[in-house]
Amino acid sequence: MSQSYDRGLVEDFGRWKEFSAGMWAWIFHKFTGWVLVGYLFTHIAVLSSAIGVDPGGSAAASETDAYTTTLQGLESLFVVRVLEVGLLAVAVFHILNGLRLLMVDLGVGLEAQDKSFYASLVLTGAIVVASVPTFMSGVSV
């Protein structure tokens, strides 16, 4: 059975100085979730450039079709690469904290839920920093 405890209103952001690790995890999960769902709609909009491209046509063969030029055009922009690194950070945190939430839901390791939040942050930072060279290759300001 589930239990509840009086954490105070996490929706009352003015209390942020009083927030515990679990409340910060909750807020970060919401924020990254909003970013990811916003990106999902944008992503499908951009990929819609694939509609109407003929796989057997000369444009696809010469890589001058709408899809290839749209994606490669976006990838040639420095700001897009920076945003991609930001997206990676947001996605990795949401995945790691999501795993943490699945554990919390299953009641596994509840006593370490604050430590696992800090671990999610540190691991996100490490993965993002390690990924920067890959994400920024072949582009300049």
Binding site: E11, G22, G33, I44, Q72, L102, Q113, S137, G138
Partner: protein
Amino acid sequence: MAERYSSFAPGGTNWLLQRITAAFLVVVLAFHFFLLHFWNHAYEVTFLGTNARMETPAYFVTMWLFLVTATFHGVNGVYNALVNQGLDGTQKTVVKGVLVLAGLALIVQGTRVAIAMAGGIA
């Protein structure tokens, strides 16, 4: 601080579906990022490369399920976040309707994109 806390009323269908889609998305989102940024590079993506991947039935099905589960998880998450913020009454009904329509529209458009990528007519 070891009590259970969740944003969702536990036990409901949406609560369970949010968890099931989460478990699926953890794996597929990580796979998607790895495949298209590390194995292949995003700046080298071409239509024919995408077409080759999407012509593989298992990959097509995985990506379509990725679309559907991500849409549900995202839209349901937004709805629950708004309910947590105090959304209620008529506003709640209207927002729910708008989110359901937006989610369905995204799945329809995403399916058209997937079919086009696989070389079909969309």
